[in-house]
């Protein structure tokens, strides 16, 4: 059945679809039950699947992650919600020291097929600690997969893939675009591949690489630039870890120019890694230095200043012009 849905509703569609299909899938988190999640990502699921499969937890993030690991070791497929990514930090010890390592340290005797969902990123005038983008922290951890959808259809397909994945997946939902765009999504239980970029727009002059809410800004910049005769190829990374290096390299070899856009702080960001990979493997194909358009290396500002922190389409246009004009 086709649904005209926003990203948030697509998340809900995917959760319901997989819970109908697989009895081992359970949901736990703060306010996910009666309230359906503070953003309503789990709306109506408790009514359909009951208390034993949609569990409101005590208010303790470490516990949510630790209990999910225990459940996953028993073959359940827990989907834990961390209410905002800014509150994931108490859970990091459990995620890094246990979820990411259980398969390796038991040489496959036990495994940890869990999903941790968290809304992330800025742009909605949220309170302090509600707008961070710390995906690079998680991408640095061997044993995890880190996925970021940027449209309703990709949220649906990638979340299905995350739930079916035999290893722990961190699923970061860009809350700035939770409700901002509607799209036809077929509720057909078809997953999209984890570990593959999505080329959203083909172009021959320059490659723009981004993910999450920044895809919206990037596509808008590409549209403006096309009116000025600059053809941008836009790649949605979608899976931060493991990176689909090939798709990026093939595009850069074609265009010879690369701008990477992310909302997270610049230093140690995933953009640095993409830039390094291109320098290692496609240096001689480059016709201009790689440029990064990123957040600053500051604390994510409280909302009065967040628009100055977040990269926008004009920043991207400026970076692209600088790159294509480089001789």
């Amino acid at each position: 059945m086709k649904h005209n849905v926003c990203l948030l509703e697509a998340v809900n569609l995917a959760l319901a679809s997989e819970m109908r299909k697989d009895e081992e899938v359970v949901i736990l988190g703060e306010d996910v039950g009666v309230n359906g999640g503070v953003f309503r990502a789990t709306a109506n699921l408790r009514d359909e699947f009951g208390l034993k499969r949609v569990m409101d937890t005590p208010l303790a993030e470490t516990m949510i992650a630790g209990v999910s690991i225990g459940m996953a070791s028993q073959g359940l497929k827990p989907i834990a919600e961390i209410q905002f990514m800014g509150f994931i930090f108490p859970a990091l010890e459990q995620i890094i020291c246990h979820a990411a390592r259980l398969r390796n340290r038991t040489r496959g005797r036990l495994s940890c097929p869990l999903v941790i969902r968290a809304p992330f990123g800025g742009g909605i005038h949220a309170p302090e600690h509600h707008s961070e983008s710390t995906e690079a922290l998680l991408a640095h951890i061997p044993g995890l997969k880190v996925v970021v959808p940027s449209s309703p259809a990709r949220a649906y397909g990638l979340l299905l893939a995350a739930i079916r994945d035999p290893d722990p997946v961190i699923f970061l939902e860009p809350k700035r675009i939770y409700r901002s765009q509607q799209q036809e999504v077929e509720d057909n239980a078809n997953a999209l591949p984890i570990g593959s970029c999505f080329t959203l727009r083909e172009g021959s002059d320059i490659t723009l690489v981004s993910w999450g809410a920044m895809i919206t800004e990037t596509l808008s910049a590409a549209e403006s630039l096309s009116n000025e005769g600059v053809n941008c190829e836009v790649i949605d990374v979608a899976t931060i870890s493991p990176l689909d290096v090939e798709t990026i390299l093939i595009s850069v070899r074609k265009t010879g120019r690369l701008v990477i856009i992310h909302e997270a702080p610049r230093t140690g960001g995933v953009g640095a890694d993409i830039s390094a990979i291109v320098a290692e493997q496609a240096l001689l194909d480059l016709q201009a230095p790689v440029v990064r358009v990123t957040g600053y290396d500051t604390v994510m500002p409280y909302f009065r200043l967040e628009k100055h922190y977040l990269p926008n389409s004009q920043d991207i246009i400026d970076a692209v012009k600088q790159t294509v004009e480089f001789v």
Partner: protein
């Protein structure tokens, strides 16, 4: 709050301090328990000797925990799940971990966590208190699936100061989970004594805030431990929820082989702790019941010594895994970066090989 003395049936000398349960009139369980307590101590002695001679890594001695781990392991069903900390080798061995694989783990090899005999039991938790939450997750799975099983998890006295432990007690209480928490209160968290770890009169009191029963037990008394763990497991099987058992013991060894406890605790304290040795206590009780004598003791020592020696020999014969193994178990399916890095590592591990040779090929 009224504080009861710890549950105890045998005093330091192995004399009943109150009438023992009916089953103590038969030798079966008591002799099995004694056998494994002696085996555990033989394993421990050998592990320390291997470490001191450079044949094992840093090792956490189990000395002084035999009276806790052995009754717990003997009381658990194979369908229950053990979620250990890092001092439960006795429990793990009784539940099926081959002795040589116990050595293998402390010898720096992940295969020590991998044997099929360990079933669904968790590997050792090295980060403090994290395991308490895994046990709650395992118990949640049992409850969701309506299985009559229990998760049993251990922690040290130091670990009870961590948030994970309190979060675990809390969720176990509110979700009425089939889980048993056992604190091995051996009085020392490396150099930090019990009295500066917590102002609680008993660590078992921490159960009160979670709304679950907490009981303090003499952890050097295997009969008391048997009673406590049986009651707790039965509560779990019957759907009545979680129990916290504080087993009061003493860490008769160093924290690990990397520690030197003479730096921070007195010989007098250690000497008096040895008077409460759980093995001596059970042996005295067995002799009192006419279940034991010196010739049986010698035969048992010889038998367990030989088992441990054979396992140590097997362990020493086991070659390290190939470097491939660090890539092979990270994910169910390795990604392309890992496949590439594995090739580099294989070349680098060859005689005269280098990382860059692999990378350019």
């Amino acid at each position: 709050m009224k504080t009861l003395p710890p549950l105890q049936y045998l005093d330091h000398e192995g004399q009943p301090s109150q009438p023992c349960p009916e089953w103590c009139n038969k030798p079966d369980w008591l002799l099995r328990c004694y056998h494994y307590m002696v085996l555990a101590r033989q394993f421990d002695t050998k592990a320390i000797a291997l470490q001191r001679t450079g044949q094992l890594g840093t090792y956490a001695s189990l000395l002084g925990s035999e009276g806790i781990d052995v009754p717990v392991a003997l009381s658990m069903k194979s369908t229950d799940v053990l979620v250990p900390y890092y001092r439960n080798h006795a429990c793990q061995i009784i539940r099926g971990m081959p002795l040589e694989e116990a050595f293998l783990y402390w010898g720096g090899d992940e295969r020590g966590n991998s044997s099929v005999q360990m079933g669904e039991d968790f590997p050792n938790a090295v980060p403090i208190a994290t395991q308490s939450l895994h046990a709650c997750g395992v118990a949640s799975a049992f409850k969701i699936r309506n299985q009559k099983r229990a998760a049993v998890t251990f922690i040290g006295d130091g670990g009870t100061s961590k948030g994970d432990f309190m979060e675990a007690l809390n969720v176990a209480g509110v979700w009425q989970l089939p889980v048993v928490f056992i604190i091995n209160n051996n009085q020392w968290a490396i150099s930090i004594p019990r009295q500066i770890q917590s102002a609680a009169a008993q660590l078992a009191d921490k159960a009160v805030a979670a709304g679950i029963p907490g009981i303090q037990v003499d952890g050097n008394d295997p009969i008391a431990m048997h009673e406590a763990i049986h009651n707790a497991l039965n509560r779990a099987y019957e759907g009545k929820g979680a129990t916290l058992i504080e087993a009061v013991s003493y860490r008769l060894g160093d924290h690990t082989t990397a520690d030197d406890a003479t730096r921070y605790r007195s010989n007098d304290e250690l000497k008096s702790a040895w008077e409460r040795d759980p093995i001596k206590r059970l042996r005295n009780f067995l002799a009192l019941q006419n279940f034991w004598d010196e010739s049986k003791e010698q035969a048992l020592l010889q038998e367990t010594h030989q088992l441990v020696q054979e396992a140590a020999n097997k362990y020493i014969e086991i070659s390290p895994q190939k470097i491939d193994s660090i890539f092979d178990y990270l994910y169910a399916e390795p990604n392309s970066q890992l496949i590439e890095q594995k090739d580099w590592a294989i070349v680098k591990a060859m005689q005269g090989g280098s990382h860059f040779e692999g990378e350019s090929s």
